[in-house]
Symmetry: C2
Subunit: 411 residues, 2 copies
């Protein structure tokens, strides 16, 4: 009987994805139906290339350390499986490996692209009556998976964005001259993370004064008017924009400016940089743009405890469900109430979620398209609650070593 488990990760890094991995391992080593627990390195590619790490004998302190480590312990891949009909051999090799390793459970932690892998593997298993159970655990800082209330990784990214924009605001307030600061937040097609910037505000700190999401057609004229109006009242304005804002014809703001360097490269600059130039040009006020860097997805030193716990729980839950016979599913979370915040886990058919995206709803955006509403705040607030103190060693944040990724040869 195949009673081993393989877990893998895929897509972009988050601060909570290793908490889901830790949840999977923790539950798998606990359940008597599961024997050995393997991690496939670089997503499904590890299965194809026979690259595994074994977790079966990990100590609980290692699992805890793993849960608090950001990015992706097992490494990622951007590899999308072909259609089954296009390369049946590849699928056969994957399932041969499952048999050789006596694998009865395969858990894939990733975003909507990764759920496509869960769809295809479970379809192949169904077609060939293979007993392996295929489970998906969601993760994405973009929070754009449908059906589930939200996705692990988002709450921590949202907490990072809200906290750092408050700090950026404090940095802007100190000068006695007017200024505009434009902060560009990740989220090409969905504005969830940019919306979370609204949680920065306090009674005395109004930043960000304006918020623009890709769900609303962006108008440069309206933007300049919005900034002007705010400058009449406030000395220093902070504006949060999604990287993916675009006008009503669908043209990205970021596509509006190109620069050519001395090598002749013509490059897109970010939306923030374009708006920086626009403000300088139209209003002549001191302006700068800040692109929040990859820390918004991998800052393990500022994690939402709610997110962290939910990520872990979803990993555990997926294993439990698979052992009970479920397959071709993704674990999901249902919100029962905002305050007190209560939720329950459930499973969804992965076919219903893969390759689909959930935008920020209209009710979360104000009528002028330049701010979020109370509904948005009510939805977002519970997701960033609680802290998970980071470990420090020698004064620097300390994570589980990932030497298998550092020296791993390029394929």
């Amino acid at each position: 009987m195949n009673n081993n488990l393989i877990v893998a990760q895929s897509g972009g890094p988050t601060a909570a994805i290793n908490s889901s991995l830790a949840g999977v391992i923790n539950q798998a080593v606990k359940i008597s139906d599961i024997d050995r627990v393997y991690g496939s390195v670089h997503g499904i590619q590890g299965v194809i290339k026979d690259q595994f790490i074994e977790f079966t004998d990990w100590k609980s302190e290692d699992i805890t350390k793993l849960s608090k480590t950001p990015a992706m312990y097992l490494g990622s891949c951007r590899f999308k499986l072909p259609e089954i009909s296009e390369d049946e051999e590849l699928y056969k090799s994957i399932f041969d490996r499952f048999n050789a390793m006596k694998v009865g459970f395969f858990v894939y932690i990733g975003g909507n692209d990764s759920m496509d892998t869960v769809v295809k593997l479970s379809e192949y298993a169904r077609l060939h009556n293979h007993p392996v159970k295929i489970a998906g655990v969601p993760k994405t800082i973009d929070n754009d998976l449908i059906i589930t209330d939200h996705t692990p990784g988002f709450g921590s990214a949202a907490k990072y964005v809200a906290s750092t924009i408050r700090e950026i605001a404090y940095d802007t307030y100190i000068y006695d001259t007017q200024s505009v600061t434009i902060v560009e937040v990740m989220g090409r097609d969905a504005g969830w993370l940019t919306a979370a910037s609204g949680l920065s505000r306090t009674k005395s700190s109004p930043a960000p004064h304006l918020i623009y999401l890709p769900e609303v057609a962006f108008s440069k004229e309206n933007f300049i008017e919005d900034v002007k109006k705010n400058l009449e009242r406030y000395k220093n304005i902070v504006v949060a924009v999604s990287e993916g804002i675009h006008d009503k014809s669908g043209s990205y703001v970021s596509a509006d400016t190109t620069y050519a360097d001395k090598f002749g490269h013509s490059q897109l600059s970010g939306a923030g940089k374009v708006l920086e130039h626009l403000v300088k040009d139209k209003l002549g006020v001191k302006v700068r743009s800040i692109e929040l860097n990859v820390l918004q997805r991998c800052a393990g030193h500022i994690i939402s405890k709610t997110d962290f716990d939910e990520a872990f729980a979803q990993g555990e839950y997926a294993v439990t469900q698979a052992v009970e016979g479920a397959t071709g599913f993704m674990s999901a979370i249902r919100r029962l109430s905002d305050m007190p915040y209560t939720t329950e886990l459930f499973t969804v058919d992965v076919n219903d979620v893969a390759n689909k995206a959930k935008p920020v709803p209209e009710s979360f955006i104000n009528e002028f398209g330049n701010n979020i509403t109370k509904s948005a705040t009510d939805y977002l607030t519970p997701l960033i609650q609680g802290e998970v103190p980071a470990d420090y060693d020698g004064g620097v944040v300390d994570y589980l070593p990932v030497s298998h990724l550092v020296h791993h040869k390029v394929q």
Copy 2:
């Protein structure tokens, strides 16, 4: 008798400057020789424009909250006092205000430009036999003040840089393809903060693989060779560069690329962006650049306890010295040993430090000019030790309100 105290802040924000302010207030309200404690808003400009906050009756919990708040509670200014001979009236108005407010002590917290204000005010006081004691307390993330071993604010910025570069490294390691990530760190003329990136390294995490400081003439040819060599060994390379790197003729790398947007602006891009293009052009490998944003100077959520405590102590010490009769001085710190790390405070004649800068010494840089040495690590390590847990409210880092800066009208 003039026994009130004014304290003010000037220059760029740091995560520890309000700890120095809290130290000044804490000591001033404790000492019986001092009656009332005022803060001048926007540096020396507050004295000129009569804008003050009174701290005399602040509760100790407010002072604690203040100490943990980043940026600059009293607001900053970039105003440099003219020579006394150029505008004697201005100086007279400042000292008239001192008299009107019965001010016997003036403490200025700032960098080397701000120490110029301490020089000029103490010179005027000396010329006119005015009894006010003028004290300076250093701060700068650049760590470029001479005589003092290091400056408050630097340790916290260094801790932020080291920790976040470790997180950025974890973010890069996950992919199975080669990549180069260039991280641009603040420090136009001095590479102290970029040098601190070396503290990111662990036995298993070699990032940053290369470090370039403005103290070494930058050669693009050598840089490309360095990157190539590292790519033979490692899958993902992280490079830390100071914003101010320049070639042997003094031309800034950042001046090498200009881009023109559709408004016809021609803008300098950063050193990181220039090197990104260079790597893409010469090596054809996947490359990105990250400009660490203002958080490296104002991330109150990741503070060095050593820095925080020293900043506070220097504020207290400056008040004590002024009350004992010292004037025209800056508080400074002398290192007695690296391990165990022991220090003592002392005063320096502010004339000896104002408008001067301290580069990273040669002994801290390796022979190839692309890394730091053990001497550098030994010097830097003690400065980032210990953590100061941030306060969170509703899931977001929580600081003392600064409404007096937010709504304050532009002059």
